[in-house]
Amino acid sequence: MMYNNEHFEPVITPNVDKPGCDTLDFYLKNEDGYKGLEKALKMKPAEVVDEVKKSNLRGRGGAGFPTGMKWSFMPANPVDKDGNPKPKYLVCNADEGEPGTFKDRLIFTKTPHRMIEGMIIAGHAIGSNKGFIYIRGEWFKETRLMQKAIDDAKKAGFLGKNILGSGFDYELIIYRGAGAYICGEETALLNSLEGKRGEPRLKPPFPAQVGAYGMPSCVNNVETFAAVPYILLKGWEKYAKMGTERSGGTRLLGVSGRVNKPGVYELPMNLSINDVIELAGGVKDGKKLKAVIPGGASAPMLRADECGVLTDYDSLAKAGTMAGSGGIIVIDETVSIVEAAYTLLKFYEHESCGQCSQCREGSHWLARMFKRILDGGGTQDDLDYIAKICGNMAGQTICAFADAVTGPALSSVKKFRHEFEELIRNGGIDKTRAHTHSHINEGAHV
């Protein structure tokens, strides 16, 4: 069909529609469960890292950093200043909080063992005996499911001491966040894990040197871990072939907004955004597509005419946006871009951790400015000043939050300036709507 990719097969979601797919029995029976682990444990850690490196797996959390490379940054035998060996930690970032992103939740609820298996393999690869799963605070049910999955895996001997007779010990600990978006940033997550304020740390040192509890740590996304068993089981070639030259495998895309069939889709990366929208049943009610946010709320918007771009990391980066966490938000012609952008900015205003001057004050300032424009108090100067504020924020702070704020703010003003100007001219969103309605009614009369 339209996948247009003879190598493609679902890596993570082949059976998520089957009943009982989250159980250990199902995973063992139908999905070659923990076979990848079995294979990995027979390999040397460096070989596992090499396998993942060759598979071109890139981090699925948003930044798209090559996973194998990240694992290889972990020091082999870290020692403290007295010469005692230091433990290494593996951390799973399950703080999925990006507006428009809901792919990790699917893994948690439908195929948790795949992720657990991936984590154990990663633990073996980087030489860690303890892993933390940092779960978003709002995920009550998901936490329960994951805890059950961990308990089951432990009972079956996939976790704990001497896993599958290999002599490798592994332990997984669940830690629930308190509901802060910024704790999805890896160093803020580590701070939060340690019980501190969830504020990103200054880098360097990077987590691979000083991570959780001061020990070398590796933080990966849920989807990244979930892809690892497949790579080990089926080999890196098969995985790499599915993707593009620089990015292997498939991506989970959470399509939401004004489409007929919103949901999580596992797709190869050689599909364009238009293809994805078509797969998701097309734009709702046959309306015209206006804009797409291709990678979660932080990704700059694309106009409808730019949606031919492929969904892989490099193509999207070339188009001036980013693949991010795979949350595709579809916006149709009935939606006011200013209102949509304000909704996102309100979120960012609320979620900035408040460390860096630019981000703390800027996210608030932008949200208030958009609100004022919506309420009819905007001026032409405001539009230029929004660009200036964004310029002062982006790339100037400790973490990428400030850049994320400028994503929707700057792209909306740049690409949909006429909508802002219309609001300024008409004196706000309400008056603009009234104006449009009366216009339509008049047309009907004629």
């Binding site: 200054l202 979620e351 460390q355 001057s357």
Partner: protein, 516 residues
């Protein structure tokens, strides 16, 4: 350490940021390795491996080129205010100079167009929610928000929204010493890091996040509990944390600033005396790595109130019939000398708050000036301390048990301690600078008071048989030197001019000698 002598000097730089980092030079010799070099604004500087860019700048006293809010040399690095960003060649983004280690061959620009634009941006953001209440703010005149805005800020703001207002923000009392005005805060969090890492009392926290972020006492019922709260107002770059003791007393630009030494305990913290028309308004610490670092305790900080006390005796007094009367120094000294000469025995008790010079003078010259053998002892008596052996640290930072400044210096002159803290002579001369305790005595003991005394202290004496009072200079009014608890000798000069009738010990001794 015991032979170290330093002279207290007023630093050229801003008090809060002073750093004692010195330029480094490569070793010479055949085996010597050259030190790494970094180029800052076109000039090349050698540095110690591990230095950050800011520290290199501090070494060569060019750090004033780099503005900063959250960075403080006495605290861990936060890197959050983003004011100190500089351009490093080959780095894609601007780097925070406080946290970026200098590298060999690195080329740094502190004033490039990109840097200045970023600083203007930060100022624009910080000023959006600042109340701009400089006319009623105590920090005005020494405020970093003012200074940096003058230098880097945008000429006008486009902020048209409503400003952030914290509830009860303007008069929140964090303790009886400190008032917080949260509206003025720029969220540099120096105060939080200070209580976390310097005093280790953890009594300040930031609550909430984003632009609602608010400073609060960790335990709002207790408030601030540490003994170094005054330091918060020193390094707070804006007027968010102000000291109740100084609040609304004086505009900063009227203050004359002279270096001196705090005589409140045996630590001898280096201070700057801020005065106007010889009235002292506050003490602030001067950075001295060997003595007090960047800090000083609250007890010392407000101790200027003792010598600004309106009840301090500043003119010579002589007993006539039943009360003390003000008269000339000549009259007082003449009368007292004849009384001392006719007494069977005279003791001189030198307080350990005297300078080394005073103690030596009294030991060697007092008997001679009187023409009569006088037994000279020293006495401390503060908090049960009699000699420097009893002195202990009260916390991990600065505070000492001995509340006089020069116990070790006075001991060094060879004087003996007053045995049992009990005086025993017909007439006892008590010489002190307002810090040492009064020794115990009989209720009809004849005493001559010399030095810094207040009427309250005279009234509280065990005896009311005071023959006369010879007023003397307090520490910040004279020159001299103290030897502190760590054996460091510190010289100091007058920070203010004494405007009353007090005279130096030297003048008293020479006058006594000249009288017949």
């Amino acid at each position: 350490m015991s032979n170290t002598e330093i002279e207290i000097k007023k630093p050229k730089m801003d008090l809060n940021y002073t750093s004692n980092k010195k330029p480094v030079h490569s070793d010479t010799g055949p085996e010597a390795k050259p030190l790494p070099k970094v180029t800052i604004d076109g000039k090349t500087y050698e540095f110690k491996p591990g230095d950050t860019i800011m520290e290199v700048a501090e070494r060569y006293k060019i750090h004033e080129e780099i503005p900063r809010y959250c960075y403080h040399p006495g605290m861990p690095i936060a890197g959050t205010c983003r004011m100190c960003t500089v351009e490093v060649e080959k780095a894609p983004k601007l780097m925070t100079s406080c946290s970026t280690p200098a590298g060999d061959g690195m080329v740094v620009h502190t004033k490039s167009e990109k840097v200045l634009k970023s600083r203007t941006g930060v100022m624009d953001f910080l000023l959006t929610n600042h109340p701009l209440d400089c006319p009623v703010c105590d920090k005005a005149g020494e405020c970093k928000l003012q200074d940096y805005n003058f230098e880097y800020g945008p000429s006008k703001s486009n902020f048209k929204e409503e400003k952030r207002i914290y509830e009860d923000a303007t008069t929140k009392k964090l303790s009886d010493k400190i008032t917080l005005n949260m509206n003025r805060c720029v969220h540099c969090e120096r105060c939080v890091r200070f209580t976390d890492d310097v005093t280790k009392t953890n009594d300040l926290v930031m609550v909430n996040r984003g632009w609602h972020k608010e400073l609060e006492a960790a335990d709002p019922d207790k408030g601030l509990t540490n003994d170094y709260q005054g330091c918060l107002t020193d390094f707070c770059p804006v007027g968010a944390l102000t000291m109740n003791d100084f609040r609304f007393k004086k505009r900063a630009w009227f203050l004359e600033k002279k270096a001196s030494i705090c005589d409140r305990c045996s630590k001898g913290c280096n201070i700057e005396v801020h005065s106007d028309s010889d009235i002292v308004y506050r003490y602030v610490p001067i950075h001295n790595e060997m003595v007090n670092g960047h800090w000083m305790c609250d007890e010392g900080r407000v101790s200027y109130n003792d010598l600004m006390n309106p009840l301090r005796i500043v003119s010579p007094l002589l007993r006539h019939q039943d009360s003390l009367h003000s008269t000339t120094l000549q009259t007082v000294l003449g009368e007292l000398k004849s009384q001392m000469l006719s007494a069977n025995s005279v003791q001189l008790v030198v307080g350990t708050d005297s300078t080394r010079e005073e103690a030596a003078l009294l030991k060697d010259k007092f008997s001679d000036s009187l023409g009569k053998k006088v037994d000279v002892f020293f006495h401390n008596g503060t908090h049960g301390v009699s000699t420097s052996k009893d002195d202990v640290k009260l916390d991990h930072l600065l505070r000492m048990k001995d509340h006089t400044a020069n116990t070790r210096g006075v001991e060094e002159t060879g004087l003996a301690p007053l045995s049992g803290g009990q005086v025993n002579a017909d007439i006892v001369v008590l010489f002190r600078n307002g810090r040492a305790a009064v020794p115990s005595m009989k209720s009809d003991q004849k005493v001559i008071l010399w030095g810094v005394w207040t009427y309250e202290e005279v009234k509280a004496l065990p005896t009311q048989n005071v023959l006369g009072v010879i007023p003397g200079h307090a520490t910040i009014e004279k020159s001299g030197s103290f030897k502190n608890a760590d054996g460091i000798v510190q010289k100091f000069h007058p920070a203010i001019t004494h405007r009353g009738g007090a005279v130096s010990a030297h003048q008293v001794v020479s006058t006594l000698k000249s009288l017949n």
